[in-house]
Point group: C2
Chain length 464, copies 2
């Protein structure tokens, strides 16, 4: 079978703020091959990524991603690897290409898994999938009090681990940062793991990290993530070499890797202890799998990097599904709920969760479901897989986005289209509930269910 | 003074082939601040790079490049460094941003140099500039005979060094490649340096390089460039460690570096002996300068990577202008002469040089001019600089491209706008010669003159 079409769907909140909240827009990818469809998601900057697919060529090594994808054979995993190699070669000078292709690659695996009725992790060679512990990923508050409140909220939701990042952290004094760290620790209590994401704020400044290290040790941080720019291996290695690995945090990084080499280098030269891979940037699922294998062999812990949709989350879990030791799963807990438009560039309190299904259940403490999401199901073809509820997001999502792209009078215009729930921010919800043939209520979820869907979660957005 | 405007000018041949000839399109950048103008050039994929400037933001760390540039202060070099840091931070998740910003950063230096009436290399801290030896950069022929012919042609033009790359090299057997290598050597004669560019063809396959090593030694190649993907440090290091540094080629790489860290890593971990930096990709002139300093301190030779216009070439020479030891200069000898449209994806004999001014003079053997291009001149403000002919490309090029962008009835539509000559492919030439107030013939050039202009060469495209 050939790849017949690749369609991109760009969705965005009406107003995007400068908060480092990656769920304010999204770029979904739909691949069609014969009667089969696969879905993927690119991270980040949707319009630039679309440009890298459709741009005219500059020369033979600067071709659009489309040149290596459309019309290609898609019968077996090796076909995906061949396409990936061609994209890397023919689009080597289009820097954005790896972000663009990441979502496509996901969709190719999704399609192949559905066609063969097997989970993607098995296509990768794993014989089973292991459970993961989700950690809530959330921003620091503007004040320590706000950070404390958020920590309490996270704890009340049943998480056993939380990662705080960005916001004011690193922009003030070491004492300012310590106040946020202790607020987070006090809010979480001593039985909840605390990770810290510095968001590259110190670039290459090793001393800035050293000035905060005692506080990080005191709050028993599990890791310090991205204190430096992603390529500053020397700086990472300097901290790794000068701190006690048995007491206090270890270093984590890797989200910016746009090929497996970059992630390997962070391990081999930067000496990080946790390698964090965004499947939507690194080139897709298989490059992430290569990194996971390298990490596993080197005693480094692989963690997914995910801050957008549950489609991305599910795809991000496949590469290390079969590796028991790597227990953490980044779980974006505060997805933008489509709040009313706000003026850009103002710092506002982050909106509360509006999407029920995006909120983990209390009973996902201490573990989110017994298995990582694995089964690619299609409502019309099968109704169960690996004990999970059937997926029907393909059709619902496609219908939703087709409506947008066709610019019909029903087009909701700019919107947030992360259709993981029927919460008040769902574009479809504003038009009254649509019904599938089988359901007339939001889909019941298994424990941790929203962490267990391939497409954007067990959607309650239903077909009309 | 503030940065008032950043304008992009995209120019392309009517038909772009899949030959790895980077001069088939170009993306020029014009920055305005008050009455001053600076020019730069981005490498590569013009429309994707433009998208990274104008895209709406996705979140605080995924902002368009414009968010960090427009309206900023531009009074001193430190202002440029501050803008660069903000681009790196605020656009950290827009992968294409560094390609986009590279051209802007060049233009900022150009503008500042003009405003202060000093060469950019002096703004970087150098107290003088040193001469360079240009090597002709050209593709392998489709057959060894064709490679031989090209080598003879290069030799006849007076070059003392030539780099052959891409084409069929690496796609056949080691014997096939050896035939091309010996053809190149025989054509050049024994008194001309020979470099070889493998164009990443073996990706990470160390054995493929070893199978060709004896032939590379036999033809006395100066370097082997990019046998592997740019991030495959292990593979580079494996070759560097297992070959004799005193006999045979050394490894060269670095053109894909889109920040200074990546280039440093190729030196520190990949153990390359030549680091090749494209100022239009690495983030601009100052990041390239950082790499040059690191290379110089580490005993590695810095070389510019340039295969587009002479604007890019001139900008590429500034970062190492003051470093005497680094003698080589990549000189793109076969810029596309605007050949008639050809069907894409067919392999054709490359067109002969059509642009007189893009062809180095015989007397540039053995050295192309006595000094690297240094002076930023403006026809209306001064008429000489460092002994070079006056530049007037700012006005000519701006007029040409304004005509395109305004979509007037005179718009030539898709075209090749690398206005380094008045050759038959010049869009303006098709409309009859335009005249400046001072000139009515192609500008006379000093020896190696086309290697000595800041903007796209000493253009003979003139204003009407």
């Amino acid at each position: 079978m050939r790849i017949d079409a690749v369609d991109f769907f760009y969705a965005s909140l009406p107003t995007v703020t400068t908060a480092v909240d990656g769920s304010q827009d999204a770029l979904l990818v739909r691949v069609r091959s014969g009667d089969d469809i696969g879905w993927g998601e690119c991270e980040a900057s949707p319009l630039v990524s679309i440009a890298a697919f459709i741009t005219p060529p500059s020369h033979g090594a600067c071709q659009p991603v489309s040149a290596s994808v459309l019309g290609r054979r898609l019968d077996k995993p090796e076909d995906i690897l061949a396409i990936s190699a061609d994209v890397a070669y023919r689009s080597m000078d289009v820097l954005q290409a790896s972000h663009t292709y990441s979502g496509i690659e996901m969709a190719l695996w999704d399609l192949l898994g559905k066609r063969r009725d097997v989970p993607v992790w098995s296509l990768l060679g794993y014989d089973r999938s292991h459970g993961r512990i989700p950690y809530a990923s959330i921003l620091f508050g503007d004040t320590p009090d706000e950070t404390y409140d958020r920590a309490r909220e996270i704890r009340s939701q049943g998480f056993v681990a939380a990662k705080f990042g960005w916001g004011p952290f690193g922009h003030g004094t070491p004492n300012d940062d310590a106040a946020h760290l202790f607020a987070a620790r006090n809010g979480l209590g001593n039985d909840t793991a605390l990770m810290v994401d510095a968001g590259q704020v110190w670039r290459t400044d090793v001393d800035a990290v050293r000035a905060r290290w005692d506080a990080l040790v005191d709050v028993d941080a599990t890791w310090l993530e991205e204190p430096f720019t992603g390529s500053a291996f020397d700086a990472y290695a300097a901290i790794s070499a000068s701190t006690n690995p048995s007491r206090g945090p270890r270093l984590a990084a890797g989200e910016a890797s746009h090929n497996p080499h970059m992630a390997r280098h962070l391990i081999d030269y930067g000496k990080v202890a946790y390698i964090q891979i965004d499947t939507g940037r690194v080139g897709g699922i298989h490059p992430a799998y290569e990194v996971a294998q390298h990490a596993d062999h080197g005693g480094v812990t692989y963690v997914n990097h995910t801050f957008t949709s549950h489609l991305a989350l599910s795809a991000a879990l496949q590469p290390y599904a079969g590796l028991r030791r790597h227990r953490w799963c980044e779980y974006p807990v505060a997805l933008s709920p489509g709040a009313p438009p706000r003026p850009p560039r103002t710092r506002r309190r982050r909106p509360r969760l509006g999407a029920r299904e995006a909120r983990p259940r209390r009973h996902c403490r201490p573990r989110c479901a017994g298995a990582v999401p694995t089964r690619h199901t299609d409502h019309h073809r099968r109704t169960s897989g690996m004990g999970q509820r059937p997926m029907k997001i393909d059709e619902a999502f496609a219908a939703l986005l087709d409506r947008v792209s066709s610019r019909s009078r029903h087009s909701p215009g700019p919107m947030f289209a992360l259709v993981t729930s029927a919460g008040p921010w769902s574009p479809l919800a504003h038009r009254g509930p649509a019904r599938t043939r089988r359901d007339n209520a939001p889909t019941e979820q298994k424990p941790g269910g929203s962490c267990s869907g391939w497409s954007p979660g067990n959607s309650a957005v239903q077909r009309g």
